[in-house]
Protein backbone atom coordinates (compact mmCIF):
# COMPACT_ATOMS: atom_id res chain seq x y z
CA UNK A 1 0.00 0.00 0.00
CA UNK A 2 1.21 3.47 -0.72
CA UNK A 3 0.49 6.69 1.10
CA UNK A 4 -2.72 8.40 -0.11
CA UNK A 5 -3.17 12.17 -0.08
CA UNK A 6 -6.26 13.23 1.83
CA UNK A 7 -8.02 16.57 2.24
CA UNK A 8 -10.89 18.08 4.20
CA UNK A 9 -13.32 16.76 1.57
CA UNK A 10 -12.48 13.09 1.95
CA UNK A 11 -10.94 12.98 5.45
CA UNK A 12 -14.14 11.70 7.08
CA UNK A 13 -14.49 8.89 4.57
CA UNK A 14 -10.82 7.94 4.07
CA UNK A 15 -9.61 8.31 7.66
CA UNK A 16 -12.42 8.49 10.21
CA UNK A 17 -14.65 5.98 8.42
CA UNK A 18 -11.94 3.46 7.58
CA UNK A 19 -12.25 -0.04 9.01
CA UNK A 20 -8.45 -0.23 9.27
CA UNK A 21 -6.07 1.71 11.51
CA UNK A 22 -5.04 4.84 9.59
CA UNK A 23 -1.74 6.65 10.10
CA UNK A 24 -1.97 10.27 8.94
CA UNK A 25 1.19 12.26 8.21
CA UNK A 26 0.62 16.01 8.61
CA UNK A 27 3.36 17.72 6.60
CA UNK A 28 4.37 20.65 4.41
CA UNK A 29 6.66 21.08 1.42
CA UNK A 30 8.90 23.58 3.23
CA UNK A 31 9.52 21.21 6.16
CA UNK A 32 12.83 19.35 5.72
CA UNK A 33 12.21 16.67 8.35
CA UNK A 34 8.78 16.00 6.75
CA UNK A 35 10.41 15.40 3.38
CA UNK A 36 12.97 13.07 4.99
CA UNK A 37 10.16 11.21 6.77
CA UNK A 38 8.08 10.67 3.60
CA UNK A 39 10.18 7.88 2.00
CA UNK A 40 10.42 6.07 5.34
CA UNK A 41 6.63 6.26 5.65
CA UNK A 42 6.28 4.76 2.15
CA UNK A 43 8.49 1.83 3.19
CA UNK A 44 6.52 1.22 6.39
CA UNK A 45 3.28 1.43 4.37
CA UNK A 46 4.54 -1.21 1.93
CA UNK A 47 5.36 -3.54 4.84
CA UNK A 48 2.04 -3.04 6.65
CA UNK A 49 -0.94 -3.72 4.36
CA UNK A 50 -3.12 -4.25 7.43
CA UNK A 51 -3.09 -0.49 8.02
CA UNK A 52 -3.79 2.51 5.84
CA UNK A 53 -1.40 5.44 5.37
CA UNK A 54 -2.47 8.97 4.51
CA UNK A 55 -0.82 12.38 4.14
CA UNK A 56 -2.23 15.86 4.74
CA UNK A 57 -0.46 18.95 3.44
CA UNK A 58 -1.18 21.52 6.15
CA UNK A 59 -0.70 24.49 3.79
CA UNK A 60 -3.43 23.14 1.51
CA UNK A 61 -5.58 21.97 4.43
CA UNK A 62 -5.29 24.52 7.24
CA UNK A 63 -8.72 23.50 8.63
CA UNK A 64 -7.54 19.94 9.26
CA UNK A 65 -4.37 21.25 10.91
CA UNK A 66 -6.43 23.41 13.27
CA UNK A 67 -8.99 20.67 13.93
CA UNK A 68 -6.27 18.26 15.08
CA UNK A 69 -4.26 20.90 16.93
CA UNK A 70 -1.16 20.52 14.78
CA UNK A 71 1.47 22.92 16.09
CA UNK A 72 4.64 21.17 14.96
CA UNK A 73 5.39 19.04 11.93
CA UNK A 74 6.01 16.34 10.89
CA UNK A 75 3.16 15.07 13.06
CA UNK A 76 1.92 11.49 12.72
CA UNK A 77 -1.51 10.67 14.15
CA UNK A 78 -2.90 7.13 14.24
CA UNK A 79 -6.71 6.85 14.03
CA UNK A 80 -8.82 3.81 14.79
CA UNK A 81 -12.60 3.78 14.53
CA UNK A 82 -12.58 7.52 13.95
CA UNK A 83 -10.62 8.35 17.12
CA UNK A 84 -7.02 9.32 17.67
CA UNK A 85 -5.10 6.51 19.39
CA UNK A 86 -1.50 7.72 19.16
CA UNK A 87 0.46 10.79 18.11
CA UNK A 88 4.14 11.47 17.43
CA UNK A 89 5.89 14.72 16.56
CA UNK A 90 9.19 15.04 14.70
CA UNK A 91 11.36 12.81 12.54
CA UNK A 92 11.27 9.20 13.78
CA UNK A 93 12.80 5.96 12.41
CA UNK A 94 10.78 3.23 10.61
CA UNK A 95 10.36 1.02 13.71
CA UNK A 96 8.87 3.90 15.66
CA UNK A 97 6.53 4.71 12.75
CA UNK A 98 5.34 1.09 12.66
CA UNK A 99 4.82 1.09 16.45
CA UNK A 100 2.17 3.82 16.07
CA UNK A 101 -0.22 1.47 14.24
CA UNK A 102 0.31 -1.63 16.40
CA UNK A 103 -2.11 -3.41 18.71
Amino acid sequence: MSVVKVNSGNFAEEVLGSDRTVLVDFNADWCGPCRMLAPMLEKVAAAHPEAKFAAVNIDDEPELAVRYGISSIPCLIAFRGGSEIRRSVGLIPPDAIAALIKG
Partner: protein
Protein backbone atom coordinates in the same frame (compact mmCIF):
# COMPACT_ATOMS: atom_id res chain seq x y z
CA UNK B 1 32.60 -6.29 11.62
CA UNK B 2 32.82 -3.04 9.66
CA UNK B 3 36.09 -1.14 9.42
CA UNK B 4 34.42 2.12 10.42
CA UNK B 5 31.27 2.38 12.49
CA UNK B 6 29.77 5.88 12.44
CA UNK B 7 27.15 6.94 14.99
CA UNK B 8 24.97 9.74 13.61
CA UNK B 9 23.92 10.48 10.01
CA UNK B 10 24.20 14.24 10.08
CA UNK B 11 26.67 16.25 8.04
CA UNK B 12 29.73 15.09 10.03
CA UNK B 13 28.76 11.40 10.04
CA UNK B 14 27.78 11.27 6.35
CA UNK B 15 30.95 13.09 5.30
CA UNK B 16 32.99 10.62 7.38
CA UNK B 17 31.22 7.78 5.55
CA UNK B 18 32.16 9.30 2.17
CA UNK B 19 35.83 9.62 3.11
CA UNK B 20 36.07 6.15 4.63
CA UNK B 21 34.38 4.54 1.59
CA UNK B 22 36.71 6.36 -0.78
CA UNK B 23 39.55 4.82 1.22
CA UNK B 24 37.94 1.41 0.47
CA UNK B 25 36.92 0.74 4.06
CA UNK B 26 33.60 -0.90 4.93
CA UNK B 27 31.30 1.60 6.66
CA UNK B 28 28.11 1.33 8.66
CA UNK B 29 26.27 4.49 9.71
CA UNK B 30 23.93 4.09 12.68
CA UNK B 31 21.18 6.73 12.89
CA UNK B 32 18.62 7.25 15.64
CA UNK B 33 15.87 9.11 13.74
CA UNK B 34 16.40 10.03 10.08
CA UNK B 35 19.22 11.07 7.76
CA UNK B 36 20.47 14.63 7.62
CA UNK B 37 20.66 15.79 11.21
CA UNK B 38 20.13 19.37 12.29
CA UNK B 39 20.53 20.97 8.85
CA UNK B 40 17.13 19.52 7.80
CA UNK B 41 15.51 22.36 9.76
CA UNK B 42 17.24 25.08 7.74
CA UNK B 43 15.08 26.39 4.86
CA UNK B 44 18.03 27.83 2.93
CA UNK B 45 21.78 27.60 3.57
CA UNK B 46 23.77 30.70 2.68
CA UNK B 47 27.17 30.02 4.23
CA UNK B 48 28.23 26.69 2.73
CA UNK B 49 30.86 27.07 -0.02
CA UNK B 50 29.61 26.78 -3.61
CA UNK B 51 25.98 25.96 -2.71
CA UNK B 52 24.36 29.33 -1.89
CA UNK B 53 20.67 29.03 -1.06
CA UNK B 54 20.41 25.24 -1.10
CA UNK B 55 17.70 23.94 1.23
CA UNK B 56 18.72 21.87 4.23
CA UNK B 57 16.68 18.96 2.89
CA UNK B 58 18.34 19.03 -0.54
CA UNK B 59 21.76 19.32 1.07
CA UNK B 60 21.05 16.34 3.35
CA UNK B 61 19.64 14.23 0.50
CA UNK B 62 22.64 14.92 -1.73
CA UNK B 63 25.02 14.06 1.08
CA UNK B 64 23.12 10.87 1.96
CA UNK B 65 22.91 9.75 -1.70
CA UNK B 66 26.62 10.41 -2.14
CA UNK B 67 27.49 8.23 0.86
CA UNK B 68 25.04 5.50 -0.20
CA UNK B 69 26.25 5.46 -3.82
CA UNK B 70 29.79 5.02 -2.55
CA UNK B 71 28.66 1.91 -0.67
CA UNK B 72 28.10 3.06 2.89
CA UNK B 73 25.59 0.90 4.75
CA UNK B 74 22.91 2.31 7.06
CA UNK B 75 20.98 1.08 10.08
CA UNK B 76 18.47 2.66 12.45
CA UNK B 77 18.95 2.53 16.19
CA UNK B 78 19.90 4.64 19.19
CA UNK B 79 23.37 3.84 20.49
CA UNK B 80 23.41 3.28 24.24
CA UNK B 81 27.22 3.41 24.53
CA UNK B 82 30.14 1.30 23.32
CA UNK B 83 32.42 -1.49 24.58
CA UNK B 84 35.98 -2.18 23.45
CA UNK B 85 36.31 -5.89 22.72
CA UNK B 86 37.95 -8.37 20.31
CA UNK B 87 40.05 -5.75 18.53
CA UNK B 88 37.13 -3.43 17.90
CA UNK B 89 34.13 -1.68 19.36
CA UNK B 90 30.62 -2.97 19.99
CA UNK B 91 27.76 -0.47 19.98
CA UNK B 92 24.52 -1.76 21.48
CA UNK B 93 21.06 -0.38 20.61
CA UNK B 94 17.68 -1.43 22.04
CA UNK B 95 17.41 -4.44 19.71
CA UNK B 96 20.78 -5.04 18.05
CA UNK B 97 24.55 -4.73 18.38
CA UNK B 98 26.89 -3.24 15.79
CA UNK B 99 30.65 -3.79 15.54
CA UNK B 100 33.41 -1.65 14.11
CA UNK B 101 37.20 -1.80 14.11
CA UNK B 102 37.08 1.96 14.64
CA UNK B 103 34.31 4.24 15.87
CA UNK B 104 33.33 7.76 14.86
CA UNK B 105 30.88 9.49 17.18
CA UNK B 106 28.95 12.19 15.30
CA UNK B 107 25.81 12.49 17.40
CA UNK B 108 25.76 16.29 17.40
CA UNK B 109 23.69 18.41 19.72
CA UNK B 110 20.06 18.76 20.66
CA UNK B 111 17.98 21.69 21.89
CA UNK B 112 18.27 22.57 25.55
CA UNK B 113 14.94 22.53 27.34
CA UNK B 114 13.77 24.66 30.24
CA UNK B 115 13.26 21.59 32.43
CA UNK B 116 9.67 22.50 33.29
CA UNK B 117 6.98 19.96 34.18
CA UNK B 118 4.93 19.06 31.11
CA UNK B 119 7.48 20.49 28.68
CA UNK B 120 8.13 17.22 26.89
CA UNK B 121 4.47 16.27 26.60
CA UNK B 122 3.63 19.73 25.24
CA UNK B 123 6.35 19.70 22.59
CA UNK B 124 4.32 19.73 19.39
CA UNK B 125 1.30 20.95 21.37
CA UNK B 126 2.32 24.56 21.74
CA UNK B 127 5.95 24.17 22.79
CA UNK B 128 8.43 24.37 19.93
CA UNK B 129 12.19 24.47 19.47
CA UNK B 130 12.13 25.68 15.85
CA UNK B 131 10.52 28.96 14.83
CA UNK B 132 11.20 28.54 11.12
CA UNK B 133 9.67 25.03 11.24
CA UNK B 134 6.54 25.76 13.23
CA UNK B 135 6.01 29.53 12.99
CA UNK B 136 3.54 29.21 10.11
CA UNK B 137 1.21 27.28 12.42
CA UNK B 138 0.79 30.33 14.68
CA UNK B 139 -0.43 32.88 12.14
CA UNK B 140 -2.33 35.69 13.83
CA UNK B 141 -1.92 34.27 17.33
CA UNK B 142 0.10 35.36 20.37
CA UNK B 143 3.39 33.58 20.99
CA UNK B 144 6.38 33.85 23.30
CA UNK B 145 10.07 33.27 22.67
CA UNK B 146 12.38 32.53 25.59
CA UNK B 147 16.13 33.14 25.39
CA UNK B 148 18.64 35.94 24.92
CA UNK B 149 21.03 34.80 22.19
CA UNK B 150 21.08 35.02 18.40
CA UNK B 151 18.51 32.27 17.95
CA UNK B 152 16.01 33.85 20.36
CA UNK B 153 16.27 37.29 18.77
CA UNK B 154 16.13 36.03 15.19
CA UNK B 155 13.21 33.74 16.11
CA UNK B 156 11.32 36.74 17.55
CA UNK B 157 11.99 38.77 14.39
CA UNK B 158 10.89 35.87 12.17
CA UNK B 159 7.72 35.24 14.18
CA UNK B 160 6.78 38.95 14.24
CA UNK B 161 5.80 38.67 10.57
CA UNK B 162 3.39 35.81 11.35
CA UNK B 163 2.08 36.08 14.90
CA UNK B 164 -0.16 38.81 16.36
CA UNK B 165 2.09 39.58 19.33
CA UNK B 166 5.53 38.13 20.08
CA UNK B 167 6.66 38.27 23.71
CA UNK B 168 10.44 37.96 23.98
CA UNK B 169 11.31 36.70 27.46
CA UNK B 170 14.86 36.85 28.76
CA UNK B 171 16.13 36.29 32.30
CA UNK B 172 18.84 38.96 31.98
CA UNK B 173 18.53 42.69 31.28
CA UNK B 174 20.31 42.70 27.94
CA UNK B 175 20.69 40.38 24.95
CA UNK B 176 23.83 38.49 23.90
CA UNK B 177 22.64 38.49 20.28
CA UNK B 178 24.17 40.50 17.42
CA UNK B 179 23.60 44.21 18.15
CA UNK B 180 22.25 44.71 14.62
CA UNK B 181 19.47 42.18 15.24
CA UNK B 182 18.77 43.54 18.72
CA UNK B 183 18.31 47.00 17.19
CA UNK B 184 15.71 45.58 14.80
CA UNK B 185 13.59 44.41 17.74
CA UNK B 186 12.70 48.01 18.56
CA UNK B 187 11.34 48.60 15.05
CA UNK B 188 8.80 45.79 15.28
CA UNK B 189 5.66 47.10 16.92
CA UNK B 190 4.33 43.66 17.77
CA UNK B 191 7.46 42.48 19.62
CA UNK B 192 7.20 43.12 23.37
CA UNK B 193 10.20 42.56 25.64
CA UNK B 194 10.02 40.99 29.09
CA UNK B 195 13.50 41.33 30.57
CA UNK B 196 14.70 40.08 33.93
CA UNK B 197 11.94 37.53 33.60
CA UNK B 198 11.97 33.74 33.65
CA UNK B 199 9.47 31.19 32.37
CA UNK B 200 8.73 29.07 35.44
CA UNK B 201 5.66 27.11 34.41
CA UNK B 202 3.47 25.95 31.54
CA UNK B 203 -0.33 26.15 31.65
CA UNK B 204 -2.10 23.60 29.48
CA UNK B 205 -4.92 21.16 29.24
CA UNK B 206 -4.58 19.43 25.90
CA UNK B 207 -2.25 22.08 24.53
CA UNK B 208 -0.39 25.12 25.79
CA UNK B 209 -2.61 28.05 26.76
CA UNK B 210 -0.28 30.23 28.86
CA UNK B 211 3.17 30.46 30.43
CA UNK B 212 3.90 31.31 34.06
CA UNK B 213 6.41 34.14 34.39
CA UNK B 214 8.52 35.08 37.37
CA UNK B 215 9.58 38.70 37.21
CA UNK B 216 12.54 40.63 38.66
CA UNK B 217 10.92 41.00 42.09
CA UNK B 218 9.94 37.34 42.26
CA UNK B 219 6.29 38.00 41.49
CA UNK B 220 4.59 35.46 39.25
CA UNK B 221 2.01 36.06 36.57
CA UNK B 222 0.37 34.16 33.73
CA UNK B 223 0.80 35.22 30.13
CA UNK B 224 -1.72 33.67 27.70
CA UNK B 225 0.04 32.44 24.54
CA UNK B 226 -0.69 29.75 21.95
CA UNK B 227 2.97 28.97 21.43
CA UNK B 228 6.25 29.03 23.34
CA UNK B 229 9.45 28.91 21.30
CA UNK B 230 12.39 27.79 23.44
CA UNK B 231 15.74 29.17 22.26
CA UNK B 232 18.08 28.76 25.23
CA UNK B 233 20.93 26.98 23.48
CA UNK B 234 22.05 23.50 22.63
CA UNK B 235 23.35 20.55 24.62
CA UNK B 236 25.61 17.80 23.24
CA UNK B 237 23.83 14.51 22.53
CA UNK B 238 26.59 12.54 24.23
CA UNK B 239 24.82 11.20 27.32
CA UNK B 240 25.25 7.60 26.12
CA UNK B 241 29.04 7.98 26.23
CA UNK B 242 29.39 9.41 29.73
CA UNK B 243 32.09 7.53 31.61
CA UNK B 244 33.34 5.84 28.42
CA UNK B 245 35.53 8.66 27.16
CA UNK B 246 36.51 12.11 28.31
CA UNK B 247 33.75 14.73 28.17
CA UNK B 248 34.14 18.38 29.13
CA UNK B 249 31.97 19.82 31.96
CA UNK B 250 29.23 20.71 29.45
CA UNK B 251 29.21 17.18 28.04
CA UNK B 252 31.09 17.79 24.77
CA UNK B 253 33.50 15.01 23.77
CA UNK B 254 37.04 16.23 24.42
CA UNK B 255 38.89 16.04 21.10
CA UNK B 256 41.10 18.49 19.23
CA UNK B 257 41.08 19.40 15.55
CA UNK B 258 42.46 15.90 14.87
CA UNK B 259 39.15 14.49 16.21
CA UNK B 260 40.99 12.02 18.48
CA UNK B 261 39.22 11.24 21.76
CA UNK B 262 40.70 9.88 24.98
CA UNK B 263 40.09 6.34 23.64
CA UNK B 264 42.40 5.18 20.80
CA UNK B 265 40.28 4.13 17.81
CA UNK B 266 37.34 6.31 18.81
CA UNK B 267 36.98 9.65 17.03
CA UNK B 268 34.56 12.54 17.53
CA UNK B 269 33.21 14.62 14.64
CA UNK B 270 30.80 17.52 14.37
CA UNK B 271 28.93 19.67 16.88
CA UNK B 272 29.31 17.17 19.74
CA UNK B 273 33.09 17.73 19.87
CA UNK B 274 34.85 20.46 21.87
CA UNK B 275 35.41 23.20 19.26
CA UNK B 276 35.03 26.91 18.65
CA UNK B 277 33.01 27.05 15.47
CA UNK B 278 29.92 24.82 15.13
CA UNK B 279 28.92 25.25 11.50
CA UNK B 280 27.92 23.04 8.58
CA UNK B 281 31.31 23.44 6.94
CA UNK B 282 33.22 22.55 10.11
CA UNK B 283 30.98 19.50 10.61
CA UNK B 284 31.89 18.35 7.10
CA UNK B 285 35.55 19.09 7.79
CA UNK B 286 35.44 17.03 10.99
CA UNK B 287 33.92 14.15 9.04
CA UNK B 288 36.89 14.17 6.66
CA UNK B 289 39.47 14.46 9.45
CA UNK B 290 37.88 11.80 11.65
CA UNK B 291 37.48 9.34 8.77
CA UNK B 292 41.06 9.83 7.64
CA UNK B 293 42.27 9.22 11.19
CA UNK B 294 40.00 6.18 11.54
CA UNK B 295 41.29 4.72 8.27
CA UNK B 296 44.88 5.21 9.45
CA UNK B 297 43.99 3.56 12.78
CA UNK B 298 42.37 0.56 11.05
CA UNK B 299 45.39 0.18 8.75
CA UNK B 300 47.68 0.09 11.78
CA UNK B 301 45.81 -2.80 13.45
Amino acid sequence: MHDVLVIGAGTAGLTAAIYARRASKSVLVLEARGFGGQILNTPAIWNYPAEPGISGFDFAMKLYSQAETLGAEFAFGTASGFRAEDGGFTVPTADAEYRGRSLIIATGTSHRGLGLPGEEALTGRGVSFCATCDGALYKGRDVAVVGGGNTAVSDALYLSDLAATVWLIHRRDSFRADPADVALLGRKENIRLLLGTRVTGLVAEDKLSAVVLTGPEGRTSELPVAGLFIAVGMVPATGAFEGLLELDPSGYIVAGEDCRTSVPGVFAAGDGRTKDVRQLVTAAADGAVAATAAVRYVNSL
